[in-house]
Subunit: 101 residues, 2 copies
Amino acid sequence: MTYGDKLEALAPATRRAVFERLAEGPASVGEIAAGLPVSRPAVSQHLKVLKDAALVTETRQGARRIYAIDPEGLGELRAYFDRFWDVALDQFKRSLEAKDS
Amino acid sequence: MTYGDKLEALAPATRRAVFERLAEGPASVGEIAAGLPVSRPAVSQHLKVLKDAALVTETRQGARRIYAIDPEGLGELRAYFDRFWDVALDQFKRSLEAKDS
DNA sequence: ATTATGCGTAAGTCTTGACTTACAGATTAG
DNA sequence: CTAATCTGTAAGTCAAGACTTACGCATAAT
């Protein structure tokens, strides 16, 4: 839900691999696990974290569950970095001006 | 250096607090530590991680070391999310069209 | 009705890493 | 020169969490 949750969710390499897999298109748990060197339950646990962080959506389709990237949650994270981006550029400009003097 | 390094660097709450402190302006290790509930060595260790991830720059100023946000490194991380942002929106549009049919 | 498929959860293991205190080097002040 | 300041690093502790296997519950197929 918070920025911190989203960042912590995307930090571990394997979980980020799950997320990046979904960037190629929605997929089920089994499909994702098939492309990764970890067990299916591990993928299931990672998806739960991503879902709780609102980075991924879950859609039941019969016995399967299709996961996809949540544009809204991703947008919030993007906005978080944009905020720093603005101040970072501003500070950088100031540091250059300080060197000129 | 990599996206993964940057994301792992910003995941822990305390280290992110260090980074966010630098968004308010460059500061020394002691100044940063004064505003946080952790020891100064802890802050020093966090800054090393942020610096290795190219999210922060270090400038020696006498005995002190001034840290500041690195716009270049932050920009790379921002670009990483923009990449996903594009595909996420595209997928979202497709999912809506699929529902219409 | 059984069997098979797909999945989430519980329980346990084991590594990672965030923190502490103690120490040593480098720079500035008196 | 000596003392004070600012910092990085070493070593050790301890909790968090990324995995595993085992299990149980749904839905789908035969």
